[in-house]
Symmetry: C3
Subunit: 412 residues, 3 copies
């Protein structure tokens, strides 16, 4: 466990209610510590069950230098493995997604079953026991179609999360969806700045005109800053959702997750430039488009929207202290027909634009924090979710490195 | 203050009269130490007053990861600030130059007056005191139109420099100039190699045919290596300048700066391919084009030429141990008309070409020094200014890291 | 000697018969140690004598940051020097190959004779003694046209290698060849993975269809896995070579080198897509095309094939822990005429394709080893040469860093 002293020193400088000390955002050694402290101990959102529908369908993802394979086994079960051959370490799957009968290493053709067992290693001697050389597995949990993976030896329980979010998501029937589009962009910014950017809409009015056609800027139904107009919209919306039996009140996710249903702006129902549905065929058996959106996130790496006509998954994967991959996936009803029920350009326009605006904001934030003049600044009240995120992050890092040493004088 | 021991070890290997030990040129840790020891303690040439003429005009520059804003306040005063919002650290100004009414952070629209005060931070709670969150200032001095900035807490005095160079520069009236052209190139070389390249003309005859049409290769009026032709040129030139009341003898700048007026080659008056003026409208109220050039430099990051028809400023900014940005700005009389009095291509041809030749020389120098076979070599007599530069540099680094430990056996 | 403790820790984890521990492949500090431990102590294959036929012909190569010049002196002798001017360290030769009368530094035109003596340093003072500033030499040995260089102070003897391989190579008369083509590719992989890839043909059947038209996959004449077909081919071939007086049995090179003559597949004689000769004019005075190929390698950085119609040299140069340059040179009879006796596209098709396939394999191997899930895996019997290579490598690293500390529990 390297770099623990550095971690402790930086944690000691952290001040609640303020952005984090510089080193936690831009130090390469901190990033290495985070791979162990955060990404090797928790669950990570990987992809959606509908992206690997058939046995042999696979998806790969990379966290730092670690590549994982998520696949569907012959019996329909979803499994995850490290993407590393047990012979000499070659990657097995070289593409982001695909379909295989078995996993065959491209180097020397060692063959693994879809359950990870090594079933053929040609030319190996008689005393070679393939049982000792199965693929190293990762843990998998599937919650309402969302596949989470963990490379921890004993990952924490996801049951509180599962229990809390299922009533919100299940009515949207994610098992009956398909992928309409996927986008991956690279942001030259620390992954925590990408997350922080997502956790507040304080920046929306100055940067996201397309998004604000439909998105309400308030994070809570009882936001004291909210206008009378919003309160009226909220009352009419919740009455409708109560009538339809759709939950909407904030779930109690602590610092781990958030789940709430919020309305779109008056007269709009989906993330499109005109606010009309992006897919004419609604999800599940919905007939009512005005369902607002279930806004979900879970630390450390995903946020999601469940609408009447589409589901959006956002996945954050750290590449280095200074680079982050952000993938967005749009799901629609599995029977929706492209060109008839939906147009990909229309469906994706708002968030492709918004993602790029957020990329620029995160990159400028990262550049500014690299300056020796950077000092942690105070969060606004509307940035309370960032402080929750910092609290969670600091606890993870403390669990790794030990409690910070007390310091007599806090950083300026 | 990291890396002090490494600095001391390398300083102990330095031998006067020789180029510096390898690590001082190519070690990443040394570069980090230099940001503290040199660039955070001294003055840096930033830009020219005529580049930010109106209130709200700004210029940005980057030293290592630190971005600074230089701007003109409403009252005409020039100020400098760290380009870092006090909220969550975003960069404020994203372009190299521009004009603003106030400084508005692109992220959450915190608004700063041109004097750095935070005057609006929307949504912040009532107990938030904006007085504690003004922009972090940098020091500014303006000397004959040259803007110097310092991020030191207490920068050294510039008064000796100001007093010495003003008599040479003032007659060229830099306050009555405008920018004709600016060029920035990136050199894959340590910043000290860029400076060393500028401090000698030993390399000119083998590399700069365009420059040598007009430039005399001798750095001192009494250079013992100078030819009789040069001595005659010098005598006629100084007689003319004495008659016009223009100072020319070398100012005593020690290792800090150099200021001298030297003639161009016989029959030439400016840095053009044919030696004729690059701008027909001369600076100030000059009527005599044969004024040679005031050659100025100051450690660590600038050199300048003041001619009868133009002023040239060269600015060096270190980006890493291995990359350096070199900006060149050509100033002409503010009333000169492009296309009538001057042609930009003609005005800039010699030094754009020369800069690129110097870039190649510095890059090959840097590559060679990376070799384990590199050993510091002896400066030629005509490279005396490089030894001055090394003396200054070593003193700065010693002030940071302490005197070097004595070594029994010098490096080979 | 930095990083010795890290080296010892990693060596302690090495298990014979298995691929190396992760850090030895991908750690930047290990790479720095290897530059000292391996590349600064041993001989490196540089280029071929026929590439620098005339006095003043030179070739440059780079190992890590160290550039070397290999040239032919006026008296015909081949010499090597560090490509670093003794004045201020500039590189002298800026291209990969060329011809010079003397070595003139591009910076200040210091002039060196082809034997490395400094013969002109203009403007230097009278007390400057050029005898102290000759180019720093490297050791050179030429063995059957192959030029080896060493930057060690006292390189090991090459005599065992010379004595062993000369009888195999000399009949191909490498001194009467010329370069038909040279290719350099960059592989994003550690140099040891490039070498390991070359040391086994276990990966051939799954990856190299073009190569396997002609190459037999067996590394030894008595390979127990070999088919009866191969044994018959071997018997007929060795009878032919014995008749022609061409040696073929494996030389005893220990872990240092390998030298053996092996046949091509039945009915094929050269590395072409159809197996027919790539050059109609055979090497030396050969009339018989079915000479198989002398397969040669020597640690750390070369392998070679000597055929009836061509000689191929492969050279590996490490650029960083993660990047390696691989150069391939095709030599044909010096009297062969391009377009008449050989077509470059036809001559090079198989190995240009094979090199690119191997690049992909090495890069995927490197990516997989970067994963925290990588564990050294067992070599197959047909990978015995990799274990030889690891044995040699470990011995080199131990000689540098001291024996590894004993560990109680081996890595998994």
């Amino acid at each position: 466990m390297p770099h623990q002293e550095l971690v402790r020193d930086l944690l000691a400088q952290r001040r609640s209610g303020f952005s984090l000390p510089q080193g936690l955002y831009v130090d390469d050694a901190i990033f290495q510590a985070e791979l162990d402290a955060v990404f090797a101990t928790d669950w990570l959102f990987a992809c959606n069950a509908c992206e690997i529908k058939r046995p042999g369908d696979f998806h790969t993802l990379e966290i730092g230098g670690n590549s994982l394979i998520v696949l569907r086994d012959r019996d329909g079960q979803i499994r995850a493995f490290h993407n590393v051959c047990r012979h000499r370490g070659s990657r097995l799957c070289l593409t982001e997604s695909g379909h295989v009968n078995r996993l065959v290493c491209p180097y020397h053709q060692w063959v693994y079953e879809l359950d990870g067992r090594l079933i053929n290693a040609r030319q190996m001697p008689d005393d070679f026991d393939p049982a000792g050389y199965g693929l190293r597995p990762a843990h998998v949990e599937v919650i309402c179609g969302m596949i989470f993976v963990s490379i921890a030896e004993e990952p924490p329980s996801l049951e509180r999360y599962r229990a809390a979010v299922t009533p919100y998501i299940a009515p949207h029937m994610p098992d009956r969806t398909k992928v309409a589009f996927t986008s991956t962009i690279i942001e030259e910014a620390n992954w925590k700045l990408v997350i922080e950017n997502n956790r507040e809409c304080y920046h929306c009015s100055g940067n996201h005109p397309e998004l604000l056609v439909t998105l309400v800027e308030f994070a809570l139904p009882d936001d004291p800053a909210a206008s009378a107009t919003f309160r009226g919209l909220m009352e009419r919306s919740t009455a409708r959702w109560d009538r339809l039996g759709l939950p909407h009140r904030p779930a109690d996710g602590g610092v781990e997750f958030r789940c709430i249903r919020l309305p779109f702006n008056e007269g709009t129902t989906s993330f499109t430039l005109d606010g009309k549905p992006g897919c004419a065929k609604l999800l599940a058996d919905f007939t009512e488009p005005e369902l607002g959106s279930v806004r979900l996130f879970r630390v450390p790496n995903n946020w999601n929207h469940f609408l009447s006509d589409q589901i959006m998954h956002f996945r954050v994967l750290p590449l280095s202290a200074h680079r982050t991959a952000v993938s967005t996936t749009w799901l629609v009803h599995e029977d929706a027909v492209e060109g008839v029920d939906y147009d990909v350009g229309r469906l994706t326009a708002v968030w492709l634009t918004t993602n790029d605006q957020d990329r620029q904001l995160a990159e400028n934030n990262h550049l500014g924090i690299r300056s020796s003049a950077y000092r942690p600044g105070p969060y606004a009240p509307s940035e309370f979710l960032l402080n929750n995120f910092s609290d969670w992050y600091v606890a993870k890092m403390e669990a790794y490195a030990g409690s910070p040493r007390p310091v007599l004088a806090a950083a300026e």
